[in-house]
């Protein structure tokens, strides 16, 4: 079982991440999630700044990956989250899970995203044509995380 988490300014390559995840010859299922910076509905987004809590963030992501590993039989879990300034269409977050079974891979990837959204110390600030403002947390994310309790 391989777990790895990264918090970085640099972009990541989906192709490289997938190649790494699909290497384990006992895992027939690879699920990936990618989150990207998207346009806003009410104003023009110029950029987004991602703040984090250095030290705690890495620990939180690692703890989430370890919980996933305890709940499901997984071959690999990989989490990458970017910080700093990102512009529309840029990649923000990658979660990849390899497993022998697709149900485990799908559920673990969802679990990781739901917990990351509610427990990993990242904060987004949007810079748009209407000025800058901190993104508000969504109750739907809290609800999504609660289903795993």
């Amino acid at each position: 079982m391989s777990i790895s988490v990264l918090v970085q300014h640099e972009d990541f390559s989906m192709a490289d991440e997938y190649a790494q995840l699909s290497r384990d010859s006992s895992c027939g299922a690879v699920v990936t999630f990618c989150g990207l910076v998207r346009e806003l509905s009410i104003s023009k987004l110029h950029s987004m700044t991602l703040e984090h809590y250095p030290g705690m963030t890495e620990q939180a992501l690692l703890a989430i990956a370890e919980q996933a590993q305890q709940r499901w039989q997984l071959g690999a879990v990989r989490i990458i989250h970017r910080i700093g300034t990102l512009t529309p269409n840029e990649q923000i977050v990658f979660v990849g899970v390899a497993s022998a079974h697709r149900a485990a891979a799908f559920e673990a990837a969802q679990f990781v995203m739901d917990y990351l959204k509610t427990q990993a110390p990242f904060w987004k600030k949007e810079h748009s044509s209407q000025g800058q403002h901190w993104v508000a947390a969504k109750t739907t994310d809290q609800q999504a995380a609660r289903r795993w309790e």
Binding site: M56, Q59, K117, T118, A120, P121, F122, W123, W134
Partner: protein, 85 residues
């Protein structure tokens, strides 16, 4: 010393990223709530910002409740709900 950190909107509103408190001014088994109360008493602004219902707290880089005990050398952090991903 007890180290206290603030993040994101809270950091901006308090205009403070970090501060250090003399741990001797707290009781031996003080909780994060006691530290929070001390910080709230600093000003009306701090009182308001640090009384938000959705305030999260981490002790030594782990999310925890305000009942968690803190002492010398501990790192406390207060921040708004997280919005990564």
């Amino acid at each position: 010393m007890i180290k206290v950190l603030f993040f994101a909107a809270l950091r901006e509103r308090l205009n403070t990223a970090a501060l250090e408190l003399d741990s001797s001014s707290f009781e031996h088994d003080a909780s994060a709530a006691a530290v929070l109360q001390h910080l709230q008493s600093r000003s009306a602004d701090w009182q308001q910002e640090l009384s938000r219902q959705d305030l999260l707290c981490a002790v030594n880089q782990k999310l925890c409740s305000l009942q968690t005990k803190v002492g010398p050398g501990d790192e406390l952090a207060f921040f708004p709900p997280v919005t990564g991903g």
